[in-house]
Amino acid sequence: MAIDFKISSVGTRENRLGSITGYSGDLHDIIHQSRCGTLKNKERCFSQSSTCNAMCALGQLSGIRDIAIINHAPSGCTAVASGINVNNNQLATKRGISNNTVFLGTDMDENDTVFGATGSLKEIILETYNRYKPKAILIGTSCVSGIIGEDVDSVVEEVKKEIPESIPVAAVHCEGFRSRIWATGFDASDHVVLSSIVKPPKKKTNKINFKNFYESERKQIIEIFSNFGVEPVFFYQNSTIEELEQLSEALATVSICGVLGSYLGNGLEQKYGVPFVKTINPLGIAGFETWLRGIGSAIGKEKEVEAYIEREREIYIPKIEEVKKELRGLKAVLGMGPGYTYEVSRVLQELGMEVVWAASWHYDKIHDNEELPAPLKYLEENSKDNFKVSVADQQNFEILNIINHYKPDIYFSRHPGTTVWAIKQGAAALCVNDEYMIFGYKGTLDFAYTVLDTIKNRSFEKNLASRVKLPYTEWWYKQDNSTFLTSEGK
């Protein structure tokens, strides 16, 4: 199904791609069911607080420089504003630029739930424009604005008449209840950029669109790409509206995370013919090489890529082989978004470790190109084990039950607040927080040593685990971790 750029609100991953948040089984089964169309979501009759798509949608967009995000919501939904502001400042300072983006709210109250607040919203948008003269104004919707039926799209049309035409104004439809899959918010942010900011190409440039979170390997990647005569443009963090307008002129699009980049990458490919490199991610050796070759073939620089790979392999492969000796046989459990779970599983196997359980916070059986995501295809063909797989929207009780049952040597997680719980049960844990943590040969080597260091010094978890009371009952630890998955959901 092609992406529809005319609609204002992007479909959820559940509806658009058949993605799920409840499953328990194994690698072969979930891929088989994905292929033959029998994969159904399972609901839970016990669940824990997770995350919503608004955080992803507005969080992503708020990294763009010098714009205004207005969250049409009660105050709690805007509680993240200061964290965003501080991160923006720190990340801009690191690059020696400035980012004057503001993240505001409309502080909806009880009256608004009865009488509506589109009038106030319009005033707030205009006031925001007058205060900050932002380069774009993006208005986020919320559970409340959605349920009471606020027509934010009409407000946007009205406001457009009163501010300069060059300033994009758009609604970001990201009501929290829309989707259990927060990655739907990535799609909502991409949809706004594709439909309201990106302009048709005037020329072809030598740029590669690089979708990522916080551009922590910016310098290294600029260096790598210079070998191929191309330049990366990182976004959304620290990007400018002008850079985003020109995404259609690039040679290709790549993404550090398949889940993060799939909507924008496929959208640019479908609408403007910018090739989207859909290989596995540049984590680990196979990932890095496959990804580089994917880029090489998209931009016609295969030879340069091969030369680079050959040079770098010589430096790093012997070192990685050395550290692998110590990692062999270590058992791992993972809990991450699917853009990382299935990629990191591959890297762990590559390093000689054993994946005993891989949990992903959601699962996409296809992406917007209507194909099984690349990391799953890779595991289907290459994984030596048919390891256990579950899908759980950060359901901590299931993860701790799994860790308690399988007693892994190490647990890997990625999302805020999810790593600490494993160590309370005495398992070593490593937060794969930085999206570039396992990037390329050097990142893979650093990662391998970090895993070793984590396993070799267990003091922190030993000290803490022996002193804390766990949050769950003994009864729960005796149950199967999938106990609360009901037979079939919607």
Binding site: A79, M108, P471
Partner: protein, 432 residues
Amino acid sequence: MAKILDQPRYKCALAAMQTVQSITGAIPILHAGPGCGAKLGGGAGNSGHFSHNIFPCTNISEKEVVFGGEIKLKEIVENSLRVIDAELYVVLTSCTSEVIGDDAEEIARSFRDKGKPVIFASTPGFKGNNYLGHEWVIDSIIDQYLERSDEKIKGLINIWTGIPLHDPFWLGNLRELEKLIEELGLIPNTIFGHTRGIENLKNVPKAEFNLLVSPWLGLSNIKKLENKFGTPYLHYPVLPIGATETSKFLQAVGDFTGVNKKKVEKIIEKHEEEYYYYIERFADVFLETRVMSKRFTVVSDSQYSLALTKFLVNDLGLFPAKQFIIDDAPEKYRKAIEEDFEELNYGIKAEVEFSVDGFKIHNEIKNTDYHGYPLILGSSWEKNVAKSTEAHYLAISWPINERLVINSSYVGYAGGLKLLEDIYSVVLTRFN
């Protein structure tokens, strides 16, 4: 009516989940969308025994919005009792569950009728901010959980103060207040933090007194406690920081609870002697600065704006520029708070404005002549305005993103010295 929330300094009522979380043994059950817990979960030391990752939640989806979420909530509560090892389960409603009209109160009651420790509080985000939400949750606990008791424990005094987790110094401050009260020979009873919790909560009705140290927050709670259990209360609006205010505080509590005046004076004398031993040794640092004027501004909630103004004027001899209060304090309390700002040494009166618009506050600060480099105490939001006004800046209230506070406190004699350390550690980074 919706208004511009520029630089938010409060969260919504559902953030009172952190109040529940701070009572050891209690856990909130959120009847809310999937993201509420994560958005509201920040704060000082959130990764505790329970965190928002552990809170049961109905994760309301489109299905519940259309068909109602009562069945879902019932299921989640029932299974929470099996999975989560807690002594008290507090069902909290959200914007969505209230707008769709689910009767969470009845569901909580049905569990209580079966002898399960499940209570309920209405905390939709649109109804009020997290300051009010905190009060509503405590009210619900008083109404639905606390039982009348004929037994009164002599000298037992419940202490209530700032919001758990939202106030970065909430626990350190509370512990310091406990110590001060203990010195008077009383038995402090608090419900938040390590080793307090449910047992102390159950003792609340048995206390001889309630002590509220706060300009307004919690006043409705201690009035409710008075009505329900007949416990007399002392409402002391100033969080005591430094010698001057702490000595006043001890005298007021001593008078209220009938502690021997001489005993109180002796305690004060001992502390003040030690306090001024330190002040004497560092007086040169405070006096002989080339880089700080006498003028200061606090941009914080009622508690800190008042407490810091009192300390900086009455203890340190600085002079107040305009002060800002950003907690959207209910109208009915504002006059009394303003009056508190007028009771400063030497007849000094501090002008104070209640405002939730950070843009306007910062414009006022930029347009103020501090007659030298000012001191600005506030939140992370004040970092930039401090930079543009060449101010000395310290983040002391939410949101504070670039400072780690574990258990430090600004309360009492020790707290005053700690605050001086923090302020002058900033001042000492500059020379003129």
